[in-house]
Amino acid sequence: MDFSQFLQKKLQSTPETLPFSGLPGGLPKGKLMEFSGALGGGKTEVLLRFLQETPALQVAWIEVGPDTSCGIYPCAFSERGVDLSRVLFVEPTHMSEALWCAHQILKSQIFGAVILSQRERISGSTSVPMVIPHTTTIVRPRSSRSTELRGPQSRVDSKEFGEIELRRLQIAAEKSGSMVFLLQEKSMSAGSWPLYMQLSVNQGKIQILKHRGQHFNQNANTTEGEWAQQSIG
C-alpha cells in the first residue's frame, strides 16, 4: 500500500460513533465538534441530552471566561439525568489557560468527553433589556497606545480559537479517543477545517453546518445544510 492509498483509506475510515437520539448518525469518538447558537437557543440542552444518553462517559466541562458572567449551572445536569459525580468542572479565566487545561485533560485519558465552553455574555446576545451594573475596565489595545474604555458588554477575553489551536486540539482528541466539543455563540467559518462536525442549535433544533464523515450520510438521510428537525427540551 503506497502513501496515497494509505491516506485515502485513512480519510475514508469511519470513526467509532456514540448513538445520539438528536442526530441519527450519532457523534464520532476522538473528533473535534462545534455546537453553536445564541444564548438561550438550547445548545447546552442538546449536549446535556447527549451526555444523559451516554452514562458511561466521564466528562470534563471547561468554562472559559470571567467569573461574573453567565456560567454553567451544575444543578441542571443532575436534573437532566447526568450524574454529577462523573463531571469535572474547570473554570479558567483565559483562553490560553483553557487550552492548556483541555490538553492536560485529554492526555490523562480518563475523560471521554471534553467540553470547551465560552462563558456567555449576559447582555450582548440576548434581546432582553437589562440594567447593566456600572463596572468598566480599562483596556489598552495593541494597535494603538490610546486608552479605551469598555463596558461589561464587551468580551474580556476576546481571543477565539485559532486554526493552530484547533489543529492541536484535533490531534489531542484523536490520540486520546475523546470527544471534544466547542460550545460557542457564533459558528466558526474561516480556519475551521480541523472541526469534524459543526452543528448549529436554534430553539432546540439542530442544523448540520458541516460534517466530514461518510458514516453520517450512510446512517441518515439528512444532508449538509438541512434541518435535522429534532426538537430538544
Binding site: 444564548l39 438561550g40 447546552t44 443532575s78 474547570v90 479558567p92 487545561c101 480518563i110 432582553v128
Partner: protein, 443 residues
Amino acid sequence: MGTTKHRVACLYIFGNQKAEKNLTALAEACYRFTPQIAVRTPAESESEYAIFLEIGACHRLYSEELLKMKLATLAKRFGWLSRVTLGDSAAEAFALARNPSYFYLQDLPLSTIVDYVTPFGADEDLERKLSKVIHTLQVLGLKNVGEFATIAPRTLSSRFGKEAVELSARIRNQLEMPWPGFHPSLTIVEKAPVENSENLEALGFVLKGLVDRAIARLHGRCERASIIQVDFDLVKWGRRPDTQGEGQSRTREFKLELPIAQGSTKGLFPIIQEHLSRTLQKEPLLSPVDSIHLQILESVPSRGSQRDFFTRKEEESEVWDALVARLSLKIGAGKVYTAVPVDRYLPEKAYTRSIKKLSDKEYVAPSWPHRPTRVLKHPQPLPELPAGQLHGPERVSGEWWNSQFEGFFRDYYRLKTMAGEELWIFQNCKSPTPAFYLQGYFD
C-alpha cells in the same frame, strides 16, 4: 490452631558503598510487602548489606517469584545492585544470598557457617570461636553443612563445644533467632548531588529519581504526600546582593502544598516540575545547583487499595487526583471542582464545590424541578418584563429562619421571548415594587 510456616526473603545488596541511611529508606519501601522487616547491621569493613522480610503469611498475596522480581526492581530504583534469596529462616536466606553458586543449604561449604550464625549483624567474637570449630570439622573430613547436620546433636557439646550445639539447632531450624526491631525514620528526606544544572530538564532528571524514591517510601507506609519541599543547595559562587559576604552557603526552597495528596510519581513529578518552571521563570537561580533535597513535610493516609484486575477505578482515581492537583495549581484553587448538591433553597447556592471525586455510591441525585442550564452569578434586574410567553410561577422561598442567610421570597417564571430565547426570571416578592430579575437561560 495451625501455625504459619516461616519463610524469609533476603534482599542482599552488594558492590555499593552508599550510606546506611539509604538502606533504611529501601527497607522502609519494603513495608509494602510485609510488616516484619529487619536490617542487617554491617561491620565497618563490610560494604554488603541485607534486608530481611518475613513473608510466611503473605503467600496468598504474591508468589515468591513475583516478590523476587519486585524486590530487585525496588532496589534498582534506589540505586543498589541486589540479589534476592528465600529460605525457611533469616539465617538460611542470608547464607544462600552470600553464596550464590549454591542452590541448597546442604551443599554450602563449612566456611559459610559463620554467615549462618550472624545474619542480623557481624559478631567478631562469635566468628573467632566458630572458626576453631570449622577447622576441627574440616580436619575430621566434613565438607559441607549437610554433613554437619547429620551429626547427632547430643555428641556435639562434648566434642566441639556449646557453639556447635547452637549452630546445629539453627541449621535444623530448631532455634529461631530473634529479629531485631526496625524503626523507619520519622520524616522522608531524599537527597542527591547534581552534576549538571544547566536547565530545568537536567535538574528534573535528578529530581525524578528523588520523587520516585520518596513515593516508594510513602507507598511502604501506605501514605500520600500532601505538603512537600524541594531545596536546591547552590554552589558557593560570587556575591549575592541580599546576603552578606562572599561564598555563603545558599539554599533555595520551594514549598508546595498540594490541593490533593499525591501517591504516585506520575502524579507528583509533573506538579513539581511545573511549579519549579513557574517559580524559576520569575526568579532564576543565581548559581549552579550542587545538590537537591526532597522532603515530605506532611502526608495523609493512602487509600491502600489493591489493584483490581477487573476495573481501572484505582488507577483512574490516581490519575484524577494528579490531574485535578495540576489544574488547581495552574488556574487557582476553587476553579477545578466537582459539584455536590446541598440542601439550600436558593437556586444559585444549591450546590457546593468539592475537589474530591465522588464515587457512584456516595453520590445521591437530588430531585430538583426544571432548572436552566446557565445561571448568572448575581441576578440582573430587568427594567421591564420582555414580551413573550410566561410559564409559572414556581414559588421558591425560605432561609428566613437562619440568621446566616438573608431570607428570600421569589416567584420564578420560564419566559420564552419573541426571539426564541428561553429565560429564567423571577419576581422578588419581598421588594416593595414587584421587580423582575434575570436569573438564567435555558441554553
